[in-house]
């Protein structure tokens, strides 16, 4: 569903992402982790078509993102870490606007369902300025899910959510994966990644240092010192003495 081959992104002379190659299949949830400045957000922005890669190929739902950007974008959603909303559109108007852009026929039942699921129904006539950060985040997610995307990118999806919101968000992500969506989550919350991701990709300084299923990754980094959790794996993988990355399809 998502195929990335040799993705490289340069900001002038600075290499933000270097030769990144990986894939995510339908139903998989890939956790993208790494220290600050590792290139996670840049990677997601490239995958979402917001910024063009300097090199490499990206395929989303069978569409080449560079050759057929509109077809690819129709199949994806990107929920950014910082809610980005139009300050003069209400919650309902945001959904209406999004429905038109993605040509979602008869969107209202689906919009109502999403608003209920994300507990936004009482706020349907509210402007972003009247919403808490968590509610704004939920609205971004509702807009992202309105067109039933096959590929979903989440950048720190739990920021600003209350405990109940976190629980519902996790359930929502897993439900979408069970329904066949390919999902990438970028987060610093390793327990979240450990809990809901089937695969892990660890970035450091723009380079892939480890990738695979949770078991593969854990086995690889625990071979020297015994059993460990993702937090330990993360520290070992991103330390200067980390082993060379292994291959992953």
């Amino acid at each position: 569903m998502i195929n990335v081959d040799g993705l490289t992104k340069l900001y002038g002379d600075f290499v933000a992402v270097q030769e990144l190659t990986f894939g995510v299949q339908p139903g998989e949830v890939l956790g993208l982790v790494g220290p600050n400045g590792a290139g996670k957000t840049t990677t997601l922005r490239c995958l979402a078509g917001i910024i063009p890669p300097s090199r490499g190929r990206i395929s989303v739902a069978g569409h080449d993102l560079l050759g057929q950007p509109l077809a690819a974008k129709k199949e994806l959603a990107f929920c950014m870490d910082e809610p980005r909303l139009f300050e003069y559109l209400t919650v309902e108007q945001h959904l209406n606007f999004t429905a038109r852009l993605y040509q979602v026929k008869d969107f209202r039942p689906l919009a109502d369902q999403l608003l209920d699921e994300l507990e936004l129904s009482p706020k349907r006539h509210a402007l972003p300025g009247e919403l808490s950060r968590g509610m704004k985040q939920k609205l971004v997610i509702a807009c992202g899910l309105l067109h039933s995307p096959k590929v979903i990118f989440f950048d720190e999806p739990l920021t600003g959510l209350d405990p109940l919101g976190i629980r519902r968000m996790k359930d929502s992500i897993l439900k979408r994966a069970r329904d066949g969506a390919a999902i990438i989550i970028s987060s610093h919350l390793l327990h979240l990644v450990e809990e809901i991701c089937s695969h892990i990709l660890i970035l450091k300084n723009g380079r892939l240092v480890a990738s695979g299923t949770m078991d593969e990754i854990t086995r690889r980094f625990s071979s020297e010192t015994g059993g460990t959790d993702l937090e330990e794996v993360f520290f070992r993988a991103t330390s200067d003495a980390a082993p060379e990355p292994g291959p992953r399809a």
């Binding site: 400045g37 957000t41 078509g49 917001i50 910024i51 003069y88 559109l89 038109r100 979602v104 402007l127």
Partner: protein, 582 residues
């Protein structure tokens, strides 16, 4: 405890200046800085440094009659001060930046220290204002030094007075004196001064003096004579002391005048510093509002300046399927607000046409009609140039959300077209109203008598050309957003200062050049068709034909422009504008 605040102030100022100077290494800022510097030199500094009227006596003798400028200045300050006691309703609030609040309010810093920090920082604004005002008033003569010191004393004293007044207001509110009770008290005091002056003056002033002379002079003389009447003259005395250093014409007089003015300043300073009023809570709110206003101005969202965005209903129902540009049109019309709802337009048109027709039929006078015609003509012409600058519900508004726009599966040319539609519709409807009113009014004024062409033909030709002309103007402005996004950047990184002024001047020149080039084909087509059809002897038809041709030429340019801007949008690399991220 003041040492950390001095450290903060000094390093803030130094780092800001350093970053501005470093930025000049980028050509766009350097060129902007040079152009901005030249602009400031030719507009202000030339008069200050060059052959201005340096050393000429002060403002007083330059005026045509022996006007008591000091008295009028004192009266103006009295009105300002009275207003500061009467008008405001909020509690005392020293405005700090959000970072200052986060660091200073929880820190072990006394209120008095915070007030000193605030007063010290305000001095930069006052010194800048003093500088600008001195440059301006120097053009009318006088000594630069006395003007500068005089302005500084006036501005500093007034600033301290406003602050002290806000503290006193808060203290009164804390003691249960409501705003309206305070206002009644102020009105009572003013009433006593005015009443006492009226009673005293009525007996001593010659009423007939107002009738002699011409222009404003008799009124000025009359008011001047009232200012010399007790008790007003006594009330004005401290204000006269404040104004006097500015108006002195010799060094000796200046130093004599300095004493009382400085004394008033020191008294104000003592009043403010000795006030122990809780301003923190109100400061939080004031600082938040200020931050919102600054962000709104920097991002061009002037409608947010008045407060938070308001819920607005859409002008039409947006179906979930259909042309994609309509979605942007719908969104941006909501942004433009209810001020442009059809109901408002219908009311405006009905009232304007009704009043015009009514005045015309009653024969009350062509003066009003002429005024209406001139007004509509000016507004219509002004809207062609300024309308696209003011109506920014397009890519200029959405630039901060460009990463969101880039996510949408919408071809670039459709995004651009959709973004342009709302301001285009608003400006064009406004211009059509102006044209319609002109059509109704002009014949009644007699201005169309002797025209070789009929008014409806001219109006039709104008109506054909206007939307495409507006579209061309909007494309130039939106093209600049895509070409030079950094110039439209909002927030902390937004260009400021002299280089930003230079950039705006350059941009305005570029806009005028692009418009002139864009109009050439339309003008050629108009002229060609006009002269060809004119040969048939039908001048009105020639104008309409020329208008049609010009509109078609402009439409062709606009279509090409939308296509090119769409390509630019597709190629627009946000990587250059967004931080690298994690």
């Amino acid at each position: 405890m003041t040492a950390p605040l001095v450290y903060l102030f000094w390093h803030t100022w130094r780092n800001r200046l350093t970053s501005r100077l470093k930025r000049l290494r980028e050509p766009k800022y350097l060129v902007g800085g040079i152009v901005g510097g030249l602009y400031f030199y030719f507009y202000f500094f030339r008069h200050f440094l060059g052959s201005g009227p340096r050393g000429r006596p002060g403002l007083g003798p330059e005026v045509g009659f022996a006007m008591d400028i000091e008295g009028f200045g004192a009266l103006a300050m009295l009105i300002i001060v009275a207003g500061s006691w009467f008008l405001p309703h909020s509690r005392a609030a020293l405005t700090f930046s959000e970072a200052e609040i986060a660091f200073l309010f929880p820190a072990p810093v006394t209120r008095r220290t915070l007030i000193h920090f605030k007063l010290f920082r305000v001095q930069f604004r006052i010194l800048f204002s003093t500088f600008i005002l001195t440059l301006v008033t120097r053009r009318f003569g006088g000594f630069a030094f006395t003007h500068a010191v005089g302005w500084w004393l006036i501005l500093s004293t007034l600033d301290l007075h406003f602050l002290g007044c806000s503290f006193a207001r808060t203290r009164l509110l804390d003691r249960g004196v409501t705003n309206w009770r305070r206002r009644l008290l102020v009105l009572g005091l003013l009433g006593m001064v005015v009443g006492g002056t009226a009673v005293w003056g009525w007996r001593s002033l010659p009423v007939g003096e107002l009738a002699s002379g011409s222009g404003v002079e008799p009124y000025a003389r009359y008011l001047q004579s009232w200012m010399a009447v007790p008790p007003l003259n006594g009330v004005l005395l401290p204000f006269r002391w404040m104004a006097r250093p500015f108006l002195t014409e010799s060094a000796g007089a200046f130093f004599w005048a300095l004493g009382p003015a400085v004394l008033i300043l020191l008294l104000h300073y003592t009043w403010v510093v000795r006030s122990n009023v809780a301003f923190e809570e109100a400061s939080l709110e004031a600082s938040r509002k200020l931050a919102e206003r600054v962000a709104a101005v920097k991002s061009g969202k002037l409608h947010v300046m008045g407060g938070k965005a308001k819920r607005r209903s859409s002008l039409f129902e947006l179906a979930s399927t259909g042309p994609l540009p309509t979605a942007f049109f719908w969104k941006n019309l909501i942004s433009a607000g209810q001020g442009f709802s059809p109901r408002i337009w219908i009311v405006i048109i009905a009232v304007t046409v009704g009043v015009s027709a009514g005045i015309g039929r009653s024969g009350l006078g062509s003066g009003w009609l002429s005024f209406a015609a001139v007004l509509c003509g000016i507004l219509g012409g002004w809207s062609v140039l300024m309308g696209p600058q003011l109506m920014r519900q397009d890519l200029r508004q959405d630039l901060p959300l460009m990463d969101v726009l880039k996510l949408y599966p919408v071809p670039g040319w459709q995004v651009v077209l959709g973004e342009l539609l709302a301001p285009l519709a608003i400006i064009t409807v406004f211009q059509y109203v102006m044209v319609a009113v002109l059509c109704g009014v002009l014949p009644a004024t007699g201005a169309t008598r002797g025209w070789a062409v009929s008014l409806p033909a001219v109006a039709l030709a104008t109506a054909l050309v206007l939307p495409f002309l507006n579209l061309l103007m909007l494309q130039i402005l939106n093209g600049a957003v895509l070409l030079f996004p950094a110039w439209f950047q909002s927030g902390r990184e937004a260009p400021q200062g002299i280089e930003a002024t230079g950039q705006r001047i350059l941009f305005l020149l570029g806009q005028m050049l692009a418009l002139a080039v864009g109009l050439v084909p339309a003008a050629i087509v108009f002229a060609a068709l006009f002269f060809i059809v004119r040969l048939t002897g039908m001048a009105s038809l020639a104008v309409v034909a020329g208008g049609c041709g010009a509109a078609l030429a402009l439409a062709g340019e606009a279509a090409l422009g939308v296509f090119l801007l769409g390509k630019m949008y597709d190629r627009f690399d946000l990587a250059a504008e967004l931080p690298a991220g994690g």
